[in-house]
Amino acid sequence: MTLKDPIRSPIPFSRGNVRPLLNEIIHALDRLLDDDEPTVIDLASLPFAPGELEELEQTLGTGELTAELDALGKSFIRETEYPGVWWVEHHNTGGEVVGRYIEITRSPEILMSQDADVGAGRARLRDSFENSGPELNKEAGK
């Protein structure tokens, strides 16, 4: 599930960026397995030639798990064909890409429920629970 760029460059041209990147991912997987150390690669910082980003995406493919996040616009987080290698794409409310990363990790941080959000949600649930209590009692006591 990816948002394709609407305008395609007509000249696909390999500048050889994909292979070294794959090598880097392999080494990152080593670090993940040996030291439990995650790695994040910011794809925006790399000078891809036209067609190379698509080539990378196709090479990594799609695996078992896909998630869609809706916060300040959509984000697409999916595990690639290679477990531990995640493709994370952030979009803003206008549908434009604001970040593209490859995360080599057991699970991208953003998938986890965050403490602040859990705390806020708990407060909301408690409020809703407490507020609905007397009404229920009223109903029961009818």
Binding site: D5, I7, S9, I11, F13, R15, V40, I41, D42, A44, S45, L46, P47, F48, A49, P50, L69, A71, L72, G73, S75, H90, N92, T93, G94, E96, V97, V98, G99, Y101, E109, I110, Q114, D115, A116, D117
Partner: protein, 351 residues
């Protein structure tokens, strides 16, 4: 001075989740060309950052820089305005006009004395103040008055940074740049015609996140985006090294995407982020689209001898002057020969 809410306060008040905030921080890190490992630090800084007041002054400009900024995707300009900065004055984007607008500007200056950012696009005419005025105030007066209480000034676009097209030969309005006039405040130049939108917002994001201005090069440009030449990051560089060049705009070489040096590309002497960051959310940049780099982020790029004149051509002056030099040479030679002949005759006679 009124208390300014932190960005954390604002986002929380707007119901933005922690995940949303994390996305925002990741996007900001990407924007500032910082490694992903810096994201936690950015998150910490942003939570405590206060929303700065921003006054945007437009002088002799084509509004292209504002147009570029409204195409910025990360963060969106609307998001930028409402979430991160308080854009208190901007001709094109503000609802107010006339006296009301000027009053808003003065109010923002007074309330945020010493803390607001001044953004400038367009050059300032010094030839005659009447060349460009706003509400009857000359550009020069408005600039000097507004920067008095500013924390920093950002010159956006090549006109504000270096004089731009109004400043090009013969410069009929006496156009000068912001840094020519503002000497006692930090000035950051974000040149380009227009600048890459992301770069504009990155400078603002840097100020917002870390409360300081980015590291600058000798022309006052953020090194993060203007530290490398286009040539050094261009994906067509292998063709340059192999000697494969496009000769005309639609020949075989051009269609194969070969180097555009012979068509006048100024990539080797142009410092900008076009080759990596690109335009339209990373879609393409001029060279990728088949046009040589104009060098638009460099001072005086309009007067560098022509967009389609290759960088290694000389300017030998008119043929007439060279012919004149030739004639002078021949004359000197003839004179020397005459003297030489006289000497020869003398020696032959003596012998």
């Amino acid at each position: 001075m009124k208390t300014i809410p932190t960005l954390g306060d604002i986002l929380q008040a707007q119901g933005v989740s922690r995940r949303g905030f994390m996305k925002y921080c990741a996007a900001t890190a990407s924007l500032l060309a910082l490694p992903p490992a810096m994201v936690p630090r950015i998150a910490q800084a942003l939570e405590q950052a206060r929303r700065p007041s921003v006054i945007w002054l437009s002088f002799q400009e084509c509004t292209g820089c504002t147009e570029s900024l409204t195409r910025s995707s990360s963060p969106t300009l609307e998001g930028l305005i409402f979430d991160s900065i308080s854009l208190d004055y901007h001709h094109t984007l503000q609802a107010a006009s006339g006296d009301a607008a000027e009053a808003a500007r003065h109010a923002a200056m007074e309330e945020n004395m010493g803390q607001y950012l001044v953004l400038v696009d367009g050059s300032i005419p010094m030839g005659n103040p009447g060349f460009s005025t706003i509400a009857g105030i000359s550009n020069y007066d408005m600039l000097m008055e507004t920067v008095e209480g500013a924390a920093a000034v950002v010159a956006i676009g090549s006109c504000a940074a270096f004089g731009g097209i109004p400043g090009a030969n013969p410069n009929p309005t006496g156009a000068v740049s912001v840094q020519d006039l503002v000497k006692d405040k930090p000035v950051v130049n974000v040149p380009g015609c227009p600048p890459i939108p992301m770069v504009i917002t990155a400078v603002l994001a840097q100020f917002l996140t870390f409360g300081q201005l980015p590291e600058l090069d000798i022309h006052g440009r953020p090194v993060a985006f203007f530290g490398q030449t286009i040539h050094d990051r261009c994906y067509r560089r292998p063709f340059y090294e192999q000697g494969k060049f496009a000769e005309t705009f639609d020949d075989e070489g051009a269609r194969k995407g070969w180097c555009l040096f012979k068509l006048g590309c100024k990539g080797p002497i142009t410092y900008n982020a076009c080759a990596t960051v690109k335009w339209n959310a990373g879609t393409s940049f001029p060279i990728e689209s088949g046009h040589p780099c104009l060098g638009c982020s460099e001072p005086g790029f309009w007067d560098k001898g022509g967009f389609y004149a290759p960088l290694s051509t000389g300017n030998f002056g008119s043929g007439g002057k060279l012919a004149g030099a030739a004639v002078a040479g021949v004359a000197l030679g003839a004179a020397a020969a005459v003297a030489g002949r006289r000497r020869q005759a003398k020696y032959t006679k003596e012998a």
